[in-house]
């Protein structure tokens, strides 16, 4: 898999923005993950976030909560997720997204090394802030994995600067105060947030939370380097993906989203 830096550099060279897609590992069942990732890449995904399910996902809205619970009910374990990623080896970077305790439990170093061995390019930890991230930053740097930090609409300028300068791979700009979940409208605070971040760093800035439609993607890509779509896709897969059935529709839907990044 290419690195996040290579991917964003290549997109920039082509004048494109990134389509970042999130799927919960284990929902649908983990053995479907390679086929799903392949379909997402065929549709035009540039980066894929693979969610490691956690029992108490405080940053997630109802869709990803329910999805995480289904994945856990199916017996999905972090080690199995890494195995599935190893097997899938998509041609775009994979970023793990999850919560700190599932990384802390096996030991940060062991987690980072196993993730690296699986080909993972970066990690997003929903419940870690820079003040608590020293250990993780050291360990991930040593393992050669990017640490993507989140910037929020409520972050102070000092905090934004810290996030912008410490985030590697990309900076994840949260579009609104709130948890993950599809929204009717993309937030209007986001242009200011992205503008501030881009004035502070050359690291690409992608926007997530509440983005579900091509028009949201197009709006976000006016200012940011990419758009992240999670809940909408999680929902779609839960309703329509049956052992590969629905694949053509999925590819078409992702193509429409990718086209919106170019609009």
């Amino acid at each position: 898999m290419p690195t996040l830096a290579d991917t964003f550099a290549a997109l920039k060279a082509k004048g494109e923005k990134a389509l970042v897609l999130y799927v919960t590992a284990g929902d649908p069942s983990l053995d479907q993950l390679p086929a799903i990732l392949e379909a997402l890449v065929e549709g035009g995904a540039d980066v894929i976030e693979v969610g490691v399910p956690f029992s108490d996902p405080i940053a997630d809205g109802p869709t990803i909560q329910a999805s995480s619970q289904r994945a856990l009910d199916r017996g999905t374990r972090p080690g199995d997720v890494l195995e599935a990623v190893t097997k899938a080896q998509p041609s775009v970077p994979v970023v793990l997204m999850g919560y700190y305790n599932t990384m802390l439990r096996p030991g940060l170093s062991s987690f980072a090394q196993r993730a690296k061995a699986a080909g993972v390019g970066g990690v997003i930890v929903c419940d870690i802030i820079l003040e608590e991230a020293d250990d993780w930053v050291k360990v991930s740097q040593a393992a050669g994995i990017d640490s993507v930090f989140l910037a929020a609409p409520t972050s102070t300028p000092e905090r934004l600067r810290a996030v912008a300068t410490n985030s590697t791979g990309f900076v994840y700009a949260v579009s609104r105060t709130g948890v993950t979940g599809a929204a009717q409208q993309a937030g209007d605070e986001v242009a200011r947030l992205v503008g501030d971040l881009k004035g502070m760093t050359d690291t690409p800035v992608c926007v997530g939370f509440g983005i579900s439609k091509p028009e949201h993607v197009a709006a976000v890509c006016q200012v940011a380097d990419g758009a992240v779509i999670g809940s909408w896709l999680v929902d779609w897969l839960a309703q329509n993906w049956r052992e590969g059935q629905g694949r053509a529709d999925l590819v078409a839907a992702v193509k429409a989203l990718k086209a919106a990044t170019l609009a």
């Binding site: 029992s55 108490d56 305790n101 972050s155 905090r159 105060t177 709130g178 948890v179």
Partner: protein
């Protein structure tokens, strides 16, 4: 006055802030507001006045003569059950509501397990005219129907939580999500000494009135501090407030967790007795988790102790050895519940009954040992459940 909050928000290795970035400015604002208020004589006076005139403090220490005669100990109880709304919870709810008003926040959210914290929060919101939404697990709504009604009567909205295990942990998750979404105009009154910094230290300070009063009252009556202090521990707010009065003394301090069906069955809510450190609800502390770091389901007859985590300072006090932690099973707690009612005319909350359960274990303390137990809440809320379990 020196800072009461460690700047790192840590108690040894425990505590910290593991939260979405969105919440950090609100936690910073809360910390700053609390620091300023707690150092301000005007705020202290305001807090004390409400504690006296609205809550009914100080609560007495009652000597338990019949159980003393039965056990050979010298037993007394700190009567937090006599607080307005029936438990210690209102000390903290009141303090945080006053802070919320200082921050100009007009909407309050809270989580509740047994409903005591929800009722306390709804009560102070009615007192001050604040909008109040309380998250409560669906399972707990069923277990504590009466408290749901009380909250509604007090003008609060009760939001049943159907995710996860449908108990306190999930109510906390849902309250956190609400706070992340509405952080600009909402204050989250966490009901226990857990959660991200500054909650554990702030809640302890608001609850330390228990230990401060108890020590002075005990000393005045008995001329010495107690040999042993006992309190039940769920998230641990009554215990930390009570223990805080005695940390500098020789008093042996014991926290009693919910042993559920027994520690050996795995069906309990005793992270300090049988868990390991991890991150839940914004803090690094002992936790009931599986080998992948997933939080495990808990089991306890008492909704207020039915929680897989515990306040970070308890983890610190366990590891330093200053406080001992043990667990009492559902059966032991129910036996103590009835024992205290029949022999002292005191009906404890199921939670508080866990603390008294230790006194029934033969030979745990030497005869004549002076023991002070924190009777953290009254059992009115548990009457319906008790009438189903106990055949009288």
């Amino acid at each position: 006055m020196s800072a009461v909050l460690p700047t790192s928000g840590r108690f040894g290795a425990f505590g910290g802030r593991y939260v979405p970035e969105t919440l950090v400015p609100a936690l910073d604002e809360l910390e700053a507001t609390f620091q300023t208020a707690w150092a301000s004589p005007e705020f202290r006076q305001e807090f004390d006045t409400y504690l006296r005139e609205f809550v009914g403090r100080p609560t007495p220490v009652t000597d338990c003569r019949r159980i003393s005669a039965l056990t050979g100990y010298v037993l007394s109880a700190k009567r937090e059950d006599l607080n307005h709304t029936g438990a210690h919870k209102i000390n903290n709810a009141l303090g945080q509501a006053l802070l919320a008003m200082r921050m100009g926040k007009k909407r309050i959210i809270a989580e509740t397990g047994a409903g005591q914290h929800g009722v306390a929060t709804a009560t102070v919101c009615a007192l001050f005219g604040l909008k109040c939404d309380v998250y409560m697990g669906e399972e707990d709504c069923k277990r504590q129907e009466l408290n749901v009604f009380r909250m509604k009567l007090l003008g609060a909205r009760v939001i049943p939580v159907s995710s996860g295990t449908k108990t306190l942990k999930d109510a906390l998750n849902e309250a956190m999500r609400d706070w992340v979404t509405n952080v600009r105009d909402t204050h989250y009154i966490i009901g226990t000494a857990a959660g991200p910094h500054p909650y554990p230290a702030m809640v302890r300070e608001f609850q330390s009135v228990i230990g401060t009063e108890a020590r002075a009252q005990y000393l005045e009556r008995h001329g010495v501090v107690p040999d042993v202090g006992i309190a039940c521990v769920g998230g641990g707010s009554n215990a930390i407030g009570f223990f805080y009065g005695f940390l500098g003394d020789q008093t042996r301090l014991i926290g009693v967790e919910a042993g559920g069906h027994g520690i050996e069955t795995g069906k309990h809510a005793a992270p300090l007795s049988a868990g390991s450190p991890g991150v839940l609800h914004g803090s690094y502390s002992y936790l009931m988790q599986d080998e992948d770091g997933q939080v495990m389901p808990t089991e306890s007859v008492s909704a207020g102790l039915d929680y897989p985590g515990v306040g970070a300072e308890h983890s610190f006090l366990k590891d330093t050895g200053r406080v001992e932690y043990t667990a009492a099973t559902d059966d032991e707690a129910l036996k103590a519940f009835r024992w205290l009612a029949e022999n002292e005319g005191l009906i404890p909350a199921f939670e508080s009954a866990h603390a008294f359960a230790l006194l029934q274990r033969p030979g745990l303390f030497a005869p004549g040992t002076r023991i002070l137990v924190n009777l953290s809440g009254r059992g009115d809320k548990d009457m319906e459940r008790a009438s189903q379990i106990l055949s009288l």
